[in-house]
């Protein structure tokens, strides 16, 4: 059985460090490359930021749920929010290099091997990030 860790945090930016701390703690015991863990964790923070802001509208009665699924050479992270979601097929990379927002999805796309958005069976909106790891750090 593949180990899974589940985490629920309130929709407040101050809690964005928690999923990062979880990944960093686990990475310390796993043979994953540091740079790759950084990239995954940065992507997870982006997904959680969006889930809090765009999905849950920073409402404090709404939680963001995060699943970490560990396999031999891969980590899959799912981030759930209670908002309406958005259509990823319409997403385009940002054009204005000096724009203050609009880089979250770009970062997730560049830093993961597989990025999917969609609705989970229970109706929540889900971002799913997968990253494969080569051994050695």
């Amino acid at each position: 059985m593949k180990p899974r860790i589940e985490l629920k945090i309130p929709s407040q930016l101050v809690f964005l460090g928690v999923p990062d701390a979880v990944l960093m703690e686990l990475a310390g015991d796993m043979p994953f490359d540091r740079k790759q863990i950084d990239e995954l964790s940065t992507s997870v923070i982006e997904a959680c930021t969006n889930a809090m802001e765009h999905g849950n509208q920073l409402r404090e009665d709404r939680q963001v749920e995060i699943h970490f699924d560990f396999a031999e050479d891969e980590i899959e992270v799912s981030v759930f929010d209670q908002g309406p979601g958005f259509d990823f097929s319409c997403w385009r990379p940002p054009q204005d290099i000096m724009a203050e927002r609009g880089r979250g999805i770009l970062i997730m796309r560049e830093f993961t091997d597989d990025l999917e958005f969609g609705h989970a069976p229970d109706g929540r909106f889900r971002a799913r990030l997968r990253k494969r790891f080569h051994n050695g750090r």
Binding site: L13, L16, G17, D20, K35, D38, E39, S41, T42, I45, E46, T49, I97, M98, A99, E100, R101, G102, R103, G104, L106, I107, E110, F111
Partner: protein, 112 residues
């Protein structure tokens, strides 16, 4: 995010620490820069040495600060960008915008 301010040879060194993640951080950073401009200090070095991580909203804060300084005839440069943060600058192509240094003396000299 916390901000600690020092001055060296007419250059302000802002040492950020913790997480740069938008929200309240944004107003705090902007008001620090405004105060410096008001004092006539237009050259700013932002040290990221003690920053754990930056998200894309945090990048926005740095970009906004960069623009604020430029628009007032000044400059904002970065110091001690970690590998983790550097790679975020790379994918968002912001390394072509920000000048960055590993050595503080060099960063200070670059203004003269």
């Amino acid at each position: 995010m916390k901000i600690k301010e020092r001055k060296r040879d007419g250059v302000a060194v802002l040492e950020l620490s913790g997480k740069i993640m938008g929200g309240e951080d944004s107003a705090a950073f902007e008001s620090t820069l405004k105060t410096l401009i008001h004092e006539g200090i237009l050259n700013v070095i932002v040290s990221l040495e003690r920053v754990t991580w930056v998200n894309s909203s945090g990048l926005g804060i740095l970009i906004s600060g960069y623009s604020t300084m430029k628009n007032n005839g000044g400059e904002l440069k970065l110091l001690k960008v970690s590998n983790r943060i550097e790679s975020i600058f790379m994918v968002s192509k912001l390394h072509t915008v920000f000048e960055s240094f590993d050595d503080e003396d060099e960063a200070v000299r670059s203004f003269s």
